[in-house]
């Protein structure tokens, strides 16, 4: 048996190694190191690997790209793009890219260092640290602090709101007859959160479309906003009626619960596959009327580009929902393996 490394060194390793990798990595370090020096050398050699492993597993590269896109989209209007004097200054792209990179990498590290029983949980110290570091970098680089802090704050709040349903409970055990009630509850809770999120988004769009309806003069434009309002109301009602979450029955036998959960997964899968009809199509008439009424007298090419971008966004939403439906198909296969199990 090798000599034990000093307690201080072990504590340092516990602090540096992400919790989800700590168990086996600390064990391997303790077993393979015969002196403090060897322990340090082994720690230095494994540290980048375990951190990168957790970034890829928990934060994912797709998640980092998504975070970059969302933060850029929020940051640009908050900094007054493209009219603000900042955008006429030199090195502006780099001066914005540095705090953005600090934020994105910091967020990825916050997820990588999150608690191991919550796969999407944050390490709050790292997360808040990256927020503060990004704002400090903004101040140092001479970018307007108020706008940038507002943007980072919005993304920070958004990320917490979006991942809250995943973080309020611990990771689920693999699907089995025993864990079926927890899986069914988790599924309904996820649907409930999705509907809440979408309903809040509907409320914002509704606010915008109704206020625009009253404030705009043209008859065609008003018709466009009226159609958008009708579309939002349709989506809102559909979400909270046809696509609503349901209460998981209690005190029923495993077969009844399995049947209920299976039917619910099938129902939600079909709703996801029908997204082009109930989620996208209701917005098409109003959007088209607004685009072709051309309220700002945009050139035809600009209108064309707008329509293409919008079509791509709609296509993206549809594909994401098809992907989610396929994930539910995989869940159905797992549920079916429980059939007939005691």
């Amino acid at each position: 048996m090798p000599d034990s490394p000093s307690r201080r060194l072990e504590r340092l390793a516990e602090l540096l190694i992400p919790p989800a990798s700590a168990e086996h990595a600390l064990g391997d370090l303790a077993e393979s190191s015969r002196s403090n020096r060897e322990y340090r050398r082994n720690l230095i050699s494994i540290l980048p690997r375990v951190v990168w492993y957790q970034i890829r597993r928990r934060a994912t590269l797709g998640g980092m790209v998504f975070n970059t896109m969302v933060t850029t989209l929020v940051l640009a209007p908050c900094l007054g793009f493209p009219r603000a004097p900042l955008f006429a200054e030199s090195w502006v792209a780099l001066r914005i890219a540095i705090p953005l990179a600090i934020w994105v990498i910091g967020s990825a590290l916050a997820v990588a260092y999150g608690p191991c029983d919550k796969p999407r949980g944050w390490n709050w110290t790292v997360y808040l640290g990256s927020l503060v570091s990004a704002i400090l970098a903004v101040a140092v680089l001479g970018v307007p602090v108020t706008g940038a802090a507002l943007a980072f704050g919005i993304v920070f709040g958004l990320s917490i709101a979006l991942t809250m349903p995943l973080n309020t409970h611990s990771a689920l055990p693999p699907l089995s007859i025993d864990s079926l009630p927890a899986h069914a509850q988790h599924f309904q809770r996820t649907i409930w959160w999705r509907n809440l999120r979408e309903s809040v988004a509907c409320a914002f769009v509704l606010l915008w479309s109704v206020s625009s309806f009253w404030s705009r003069g043209g008859l065609v434009q008003r018709a466009g906003f009226l159609l958008i309002t009708a579309g939002v109301l349709f989506v809102f009602v559909f979400l909270n009626a046809r696509a609503a979450s349901r209460t998981v029955p209690r005190d029923v036998d495993a077969d009844t619960l399995r049947g209920f959960h299976r039917r619910e997964v099938v129902r939600q899968r079909d709703i996801l596959l029908a997204v082009p009809y109930w989620y996208l199509l209701p917005f098409v008439p109003g959007t088209l009327v607004l685009v072709f009424s051309n309220p700002h007298n945009q050139p035809l090419a600009a209108l064309f580009v707008f329509v293409v971008v919008l079509a791509l966004v709609f296509y993206g939403i549809w594909r994401v929902n098809v992907w989610a439906a396929r994930r539910l198909d995989e869940q159905l296969l797992k549920i079916d393996t429980l059939e007939g199990q005691p």
Binding site: A25, G27, D28, L47, R49
Partner: protein, 122 residues
């Protein structure tokens, strides 16, 4: 036809170590066997970790955490097992190495035998 991902020499060492260790394949033991195979080069624990991650991504190996053991300060071990795809990749890689070995032996004589001159190119 499926295209089999090829593996490098270090990956070959790691897969061989996992295969030879069977149930006892985890970070420290894998590093020890890889160290023997790669001698006289020294092998860091980090390099073994990185390769294990890559092999797991390629679905050549599967890992799981064992129960904690007292000799590691009550820590669990992450055990590794070769998957069918990993076994296939290892076989193909060994076949390729054997062909290289035969080709070299044809020219230089048995590997390890005292120097034999290269045949002139035809």
């Amino acid at each position: 036809m499926t295209i089999q991902a090829s593996i490098g020499q270090f990956e070959q060492f790691v897969l061989t170590a996992i295969l030879s260790l069977g149930e006892n394949a985890y970070g420290v033991t894998i590093r020890k066997v890889v160290g023997d195979l790669a001698a006289p080069k020294s092998v860091s624990l980090g390099a073994v970790y990185a390769t294990l991650d890559r092999l797991e991504d390629k679905r050549f190996v599967r890992s799981w955490l064992s129960n904690p053991t007292p000799e590691r300060g009550g820590r669990s071990k992450r055990h590794y097992r070769l998957e069918a795809a990993g076994e296939r990749a290892l076989r193909e890689s060994v076949e390729a190495s054997r062909r290289v070995c035969n080709a070299v032996e044809d020219i230089l004589g048995a590997i390890g035998a005292p120097g034999r001159r290269l045949k002139p190119a035809r």
